[in-house]
Subunit: 136 residues, 3 copies
């Protein structure tokens, strides 16, 4: 069992894949069968498992969420941290803060088309931290 941290660069809104970094941690853990849990330490970025084939899927996902949760909505009272901040919190609430993926044969049991993404919801994200728990 181990708890690790990944520092991920997410400079702007959108989906950033980090499947390979998680796979490396799984291999280094030497866990044959177990569970890998990811936890993002932020309230304006989230985690997503999505199709890793056609990049249009990620573009459409990001644009659909931007339209559903637009900036400048008169409903918002929390506006002091920028027009993109409250939409980022709402998008985080609509998506995942933690994700768990079983491990088999020392590999994540992802489906053929599944990739792991950090979803940055701020216009300027910067570095984001994902905590990774690897257990049996």
């Amino acid at each position: 069992m181990s708890v690790k941290q990944l520092q991920l660069r997410a400079p702007q809104q959108g989906l950033f894949e980090f499947t390979a970094q998680v796979q490396v941690l799984v291999q280094e853990s030497h866990i044959s069968e177990g569970l890998c849990t990811l936890f993002v330490q932020h309230t304006s970025a989230s985690l997503l498992i999505q199709e890793n084939a056609d990049p249009d899927v990620r573009t459409d996902l990001n644009n659909w969420f931007k339209r559903l949760v637009p900036e400048g909505d008169s409903l918002y009272t929390h506006t002091m941290e920028g027009a993109d901040d409250m939409p980022a919190h709402i998008k985080s609430a609509l998506t995942a803060t933690s994700l768990s993926i079983p491990i088999l044969n020392n590999r994540l049991t992802l489906g053929t088309w599944q990739g792991i993404y950090l979803w940055e919801h701020r216009r300027r994200g910067g570095m984001r931290t994902v905590v990774v728990h690897l257990g049996q």
Copy 2:
């Protein structure tokens, strides 16, 4: 500790309960106290824990999501896999890819009205795979 697979038949859009199949795996594991984690290996189907009493709840859930994420939206650029494909990816992003349920007395600690469902978002789903991790 063990990692198992469930093959579930989901022929059309909607919610398909598989609580009983998970409960059998928990019983066979002989784990008295622990954690059961479910992971769906697809990006156009998801997992949901919802009311198992009135079937109208599932109908309304499915119809509400269909209206929120309609087919044929001019926003979509990913259209080559069918009109229902991009809405399916968005619905998956809005719901759960993994779920964890504690185990007590060799049973899932589900609430009285909670059932476990596979939510098929494609018009023609077919067979779907859920990986089940049972640990302490």
Copy 3:
């Protein structure tokens, strides 16, 4: 490893923080490195990790979801349990039923601004149960 229960008072719609109660369970477990998993035993309340600084964020989150999923929508066929019941099920489906947070140095690895909330979606909630699994 242990499985505990928290009884939380959620008298009306909105977000109720219970970070401190979870932190106490983690400390009592004496687990240095591990994983804490929360599971809500209801289908009209959910779990959320969100900003614990500006309370306006929680107000805006709650109001945004109320507008997205209004009461009295003619789409609903499940109406016999009150006008707030079907919206509560939909809001639950859009948010989290389970959450996992790694433990390091016998503490939850929450980010600086992250708090753990029970999100009550009914007008009159009452007592809600969250099951807590603490493992390595």
